[in-house]
């Protein structure tokens, strides 16, 4: 592991691997009319800095609910979620927005780039909400685009980029504010197998070289195979949690 601060993670990775995510007895109940649905039935999990975790499970297993809570988009009914030592489960929406901006980077299945907007401007988007001056914004955006190998395509619009390239832009955007963790929701779902492999190798690269913590949701076993740890959800509980590689 590198010994100077990396381009992406907030702290030198050789420091004692701290607990980035600490979840204790997390529950989520949805009320739909008279019916109560228990989406999460008491989740306990700990994720340390530099881990690469794949979250798997069938549809309705609770993994999406788990990811939404992890991403500070939804509130648990009970239980606690500590992100970098801070209880974030019951903050206000505005405070969550700040956490999402500073500490969490999202990568979506559908890329979710702004159309008619250049790659550079797409990557700058998170920085528009923390008021960095425009020169610093631009420099940082160019830096992360280089990191994902798109320095030749700064001014391209999404419709001028392939699926794989668009996803790379999305990955660059997720890194731009040096987040504590990347949350990826089926990032290869819309890509062919060759491009999927490229994107997964990019994630591995970012995890190995830069020490960035990644939590990735997938239902495909071979995609999950790129991660170092696999967690399986079923019926609102984690039924297996194992390391698969170093």
């Amino acid at each position: 592991m590198a010994s100077e601060p990396s381009a992406v993670s907030p702290r030198a990775p050789h420091a004692a691997a701290e607990e980035v995510i600490a979840i204790r007895d997390l529950r989520k109940i949805y009320r739909m009319g008279d019916i109560e649905v228990e989406a999460l039935c008491g989740i306990n999990i700990s994720i340390h800095r530099g881990e690469f975790v794949a979250v798997m499970g069938a549809s309705g297993s609770g993994k999406s609910t788990f990811m939404n809570i992890l991403g500070c988009l939804d509130r648990p009914t009970s239980g606690s979620y500590f992100l970098e030592g801070e209880d974030v489960s019951r903050l206000t929406p505005d405070e969550w927005a700040l956490i999402r901006n500073r500490k969490i980077g999202f990568v979506f299945q559908g890329f979710n780039l702004l159309s008619r907007t250049s790659a550079l401007e797409n990557v700058e988007l998170p920085m528009m909400y923390n008021s960095l001056p425009s020169r610093e914004r631009r420099e940082r955006a160019v830096e992360v685009l280089k990191l994902v190998g798109l320095q030749e395509r700064l001014d391209h619009m999404p419709n001028q980029l392939s699926g794989g390239q668009q996803q790379r832009v999305a990955v660059a955007r997720s890194l731009v504010n040096r987040p504590a963790l990347i949350l990826a929701d089926e990032p290869t779902g819309n890509l062919d197998s060759k491009t999927s492999a490229e994107i997964m190798e990019l994630f591995q690269d970012l995890n190995d070289r830069e020490g960035i913590t990644i939590v990735l949701v997938t239902h495909e076993a071979d995609i999950a195979g790129y991660a170092k740890r696999q967690v399986l959800f079923r019926d609102g509980l984690i039924i297996s949690d194992k390391k698969v590689r170093q």
Binding site: N68, M128, Y129
Partner: protein
């Protein structure tokens, strides 16, 4: 933070220039209409004021009859209470009156130079020239001798001269009014159109005594026109004339006057007021289109918020707060309204000058109206943009990100 909101909004608007333009169209047309309408109204007002100023502000017009409570005049043609002796008394006994002239008017067919022409024949006294500031370009004005001898002499205006005699010099020619021959002794200078819109040069003037005896066959006069020695003494002159006439007509205290005295500047005020009313009316009608423009902004922004649900979800996911989204959409509405307003002003000014060039109507674009139009369009933008912006700001990010 406001600066950042502007940048975000401008980028968002630039992304879909066609839709932004169509949204602005309502405001552009609304503001353009307001500017053009108000310019026409203001132009009319200014013209009226200007033309009435040229009539002089020290004039009084005395008419027979009384004013009822409703302000309507009765008795023009009823009790004929004015005589030429009244006019003489006014001039002789009131020092601040510079001149007073009886006036009678009738439309008559005038035959001369093998043409005939229907015109306004006016019976007047020599004082009329000074009171109304009429110039003579050829010959002479009516004299006291003409009046005393009920002479059959006439002055003709430029329009009459042109229509009867063309380019020939009309002096000493004969014209017939009601089969009576009149000798032309003078040609009046040009005066143009009056504030009421009639051609002041379409006139024939004869001594009032001749008018009374030979043309109309009456013993009364229709008006007395009075010139005060100065504009600020006009009101005082009006008071003194009132006292004098009440005495002459033996009107008891408590009874109404049997005459009316009108200060020409009152008439000017009334004409100016009605021009103002017209300007306000035009402006109000045009403002309706501005309102429609605002509603247009709101509608298109509502559609836009729905179409951009995904985008709003992405922004929230990367850290936009509710108020960031609210601010973004309000600023978008504000910018569209402001740009629309500016374009509308440009179009309004351009159309005003086009109307002026083609229809020859007077137009006047006032800078304060332009500023108000710009502020109002900005206000319209914020007001009508607020509801869509609220909707956008209250989207749930999870649902928004899932939106197809």
């Amino acid at each position: 933070m406001l600066y950042m909101a502007f940048r975000i909004a401008l980028r968002a608007l630039g992304r879909n220039k066609l839709r932004s333009f169509l949204t602005m169209l309502g405001i552009i047309i609304g503001v353009g209409a307001v500017i053009a309408m108000v310019a026409i109204g203001e132009g009319a007002k200014a013209l009226v004021r200007q033309q009435i100023a040229s009539l002089g502000t020290n004039l009084l017009v005395i008419l027979p009859g009384t004013v009822t409570l409703g302000g309507a005049r009765t008795g023009f043609g009823g009790r004929q209470s004015l005589t030429d002796l009244d006019a003489k008394a006014i001039m002789g006994q009131i020092p601040i009156v510079a001149g007073a002239s009886p006036v009678l008017r009738q439309i008559q067919q005038v035959i001369g130079g093998e043409q005939n022409w229907s015109t306004s024949v006016q019976g007047i006294a020599p004082e009329y020239q000074q009171i109304r500031d009429w110039k003579i370009v050829d010959g002479r004005f009516i004299t006291q001798a003409d009046v005393e001898s009920t002479a059959k002499v006439a002055l003709i205006g430029q329009t009459v001269a042109y229509n009867l005699f063309g380019d020939e010099n009309p002096i000493d020619n004969i014209i017939r009014i009601k089969k009576i021959p009149f000798q032309i002794v003078g040609v009046l200078g040009a005066k143009g159109q009056s504030g009421m819109g009639n051609d002041q040069d379409d006139v024939v003037m004869v001594p009032y005594t001749t008018m009374m005896k030979r043309i109309m066959g009456v013993t009364y006069i229709q008006q007395i026109i009075v010139g005060a020695t100065s504009a600020d003494l006009t009101e005082e002159a009006k008071n003194q004339i009132t006292l004098l006439l009440r005495e002459r007509h033996k009107i008891r205290p408590g009874n109404d006057d049997d005459f009316m005295i009108r200060n020409l500047s009152d008439i000017a005020e009334a004409a100016s007021n009605s021009a103002t009313v017209m300007a306000v009316l035009l402006g109000s009608i045009a403002s309706v289109s501005l309102l429609v423009g605002g509603i247009g902004i709101m509608n298109i922004m509502l559609v836009s918020v729905t179409e951009r649900t995904r985008e709003i979800g992405i922004r929230m996911a990367v850290g936009a707060r509710s108020r960031d989204i609210l601010l973004q959409f309000i600023v978008e509405a504000l910018v569209m309204a402001a740009i629309g307003g500016a374009l509308g002003i440009a179009i309004g000014v351009a159309s005003s000058s086009l109307i002026h060039r083609v229809m020859e109507w007077p137009v006047l674009v006032r800078p304060d109206v332009v500023v108000i139009a710009l502020l109002v369009s900005g206000g319209v933008g914020v007001f009508f943009g607020f509801y869509p912006a609220q909707k956008a700001a209250h989207l749930d990010p999870i649902d928004a990100l899932r939106y197809e």
